[in-house]
């Protein structure tokens, strides 16, 4: 066998494999960067919570369970997790989603407390919270786009093979879990 042919057989697949490997690593890093962006935005939201909950605690004396639930969720979202472990990432993102749903429920319940509603601080807090949610939503879109790129590279052959060797795993999408808002609205509930 000629040297040129040998080189062609060894070098070309080697270069292709290396390029694929580099692509996988770079996409995994982008997905991790996106996950960090999500955490930055979640942190901003977490920093808002203590003040909101403290103020709400003064007025919403009958909603102790809800407030405690939110505090517990906040602790869960704040907890450290292994960014390389898809299951841990999934649990972290789910906690973030649960907290978001919990806060939506909190602001809905707060409507029943006129004293709290009239407090200027809570109204400002709600605006800031909505703003934080918009940033989280943007971070989620960035994360999902990065994960989509990574998962395509990991799952499409020969990426699946190379990903196995390089220990690069597909990451979970951050999907909206709470589908309550999609349920049909019973108008009678609002006309009682």
């Amino acid at each position: 066998m000629e040297l040129g042919t040998l080189l062609l057989i060894v070098v070309v697949p080697g270069v292709v494999l290396y390029i694929w490997y580099a692509k996988l690593i770079s996409r995994r890093n982008t997905a991790r960067e996106a996950l960090s962006s999500v955490d930055v935005q979640l942190k901003k939201r977490h920093d808002l919570l203590p003040n909101i909950l403290k103020l709400a605690g003064r007025f919403m004396t009958h909603e102790k369970e809800l407030l405690e639930g939110l505090t517990a969720l906040r602790v869960r979202v704040d907890a450290d997790y292994d960014r390389a472990d898809p299951a841990a990432v999934q649990a972290h993102l789910s906690a973030g989603q649960e907290l978001q749903s919990g806060m939506a429920r909190f602001f809905a319940v707060a409507e029943d407390y006129p004293d709290l509603r009239s407090a200027e601080t809570i109204s400002k807090a709600q605006d800031t919270f909505t703003e934080a949610e918009a940033h989280i939503s943007a971070a989620r879109r960035f994360y999902n786009a990065a994960v989509s790129d990574l998962n395509n590279a990991v799952e499409i052959f020969p990426g699946s093979m190379i990903a196995g060797w390089a220990n690069v795993k597909a990451m979970p999408f951050w999907e909206m879990e709470n589908t309550d808002h999609r349920a049909a609205i019973n108008v009678d509930d609002h006309l009682k």
Partner: protein
């Protein structure tokens, strides 16, 4: 002609009738005499221009006995044309523009400049909203506040001239909106340049490409940003929809950038904006001004359609 579509734009059109009848029409009627005089003078002056060009050519020919000297007639004729026809026409055009824009802008609490310096056009170029240029002409700057946003809108004609050719790189409106807070990064929404154009455009670009979810938007635009999250915060799915709708509504190519505390936008018209048309017909004709109102209401279309006042609460 496309008519203003947003409620504010339609409201302006309603007010425009009053402003036109009460303030603009009398001013234009007062200038109509000048227009008729100029029309007569121009007819006469054309003969003068031809005569000046011809006489100068003949004189030079007798002095030099060289047939090439006949070309001397061209610059002399051009100079005579500028002095006798173009300059007086431009003077009347400027005066008519003042008569139209000053009352119109006063009614809207806007400010008007006939000859702005266009000093921020370099910034538009830096953001890739217009091509590289070395010749520029700016006219008709309208600025003010609308829905709490400070804006300026200027008609720009930018050219790139080299040893052999002069190429128009942009002809249309440059709009700038001042936001209440600074953006953290820089986000640029360019036109999609096809596979090769996008690849070349990405080379040496400090900003990262932002891949967005809307396939229609992705076909029309390429987004680059220094902050992936902020880019998506600004370009929500609803905003992307509205940008596509705005482009369809204006019938023009739109590019935009979010940087520091501004949203900058270039709207490519490939014609003069705020044109008053030819001076052949009577000045106080309402139809003459419809194009100006349509161009002016673009600012309302942009703010309303993109919901700049409500959406970008940075």
């Amino acid at each position: 002609m496309q008519l203003p579509s947003t409620p504010q734009a339609r409201a302006l059109l309603d007010r425009f009738e009053d402003v036109f009848d009460g303030e603009i029409a009398p001013r234009l009627q007062a200038r109509d005499h000048e227009r008729l005089t100029l029309k007569k003078q121009n007819g006469r002056n054309w003969f003068l221009v031809i005569a000046v060009a011809g006489i100068s050519a003949v004189l030079v020919f007798f002095l030099t006995r060289d047939t090439d000297s006949l070309f001397f007639a061209l610059p002399t004729g051009a100079a005579a044309y500028w002095l006798l026809i173009a300059r007086p026409t431009k003077r009347l055009t400027d005066s008519v523009k003042h008569a139209i824009f000053i009352p119109l802008c006063d009614a809207l609490n806007f400010t008007y400049h006939l000859r702005p310096d266009g000093s921020n056009a370099g910034y538009f170029c830096e953001l890739d909203l217009v091509g590289t240029f070395n010749q520029s002409h700016f006219e008709d700057e309208v600025s003010g506040h609308y829905e709490g946003l400070r804006f300026s809108l200027v008609d720009a004609h930018l050219k790139d001239k080299d040893d052999e050719n002069t190429r128009t790189v942009f002809h249309g409106l440059l709009a700038a909106f001042e936001m209440s807070k600074n953006f953290h990064g820089r986000t640029i929404v360019r036109r999609d340049g096809g596979m090769v154009g996008n690849f070349l455009g990405g080379i040496g670009n400090e900003l990262e490409r932002v891949a967005l979810e809307d396939p229609r938007f992705e076909r029309a635009y390429e987004v680059y940003s220094s902050d992936q999250v902020e880019a998506r915060y600004l370009l929500t799915p609803a905003f992307m929809d509205r940008l596509l709708a705005l482009e369809e509504q204006l019938g023009s190519k739109v590019r935009l950038a979010f940087d520091r505390n501004s949203l900058l936008m270039s709207i490519e018209l490939n014609r003069d904006a705020f044109s008053i048309g030819k001076l052949d017909a009577p000045l106080a004709d309402k139809r003459r001004l419809q194009g100006i109102v349509t161009d002016l209401t673009m600012i309302f279309d942009v703010v309303e359609t993109l919901r700049l006042n409500a959406e970008i609460k940075l």
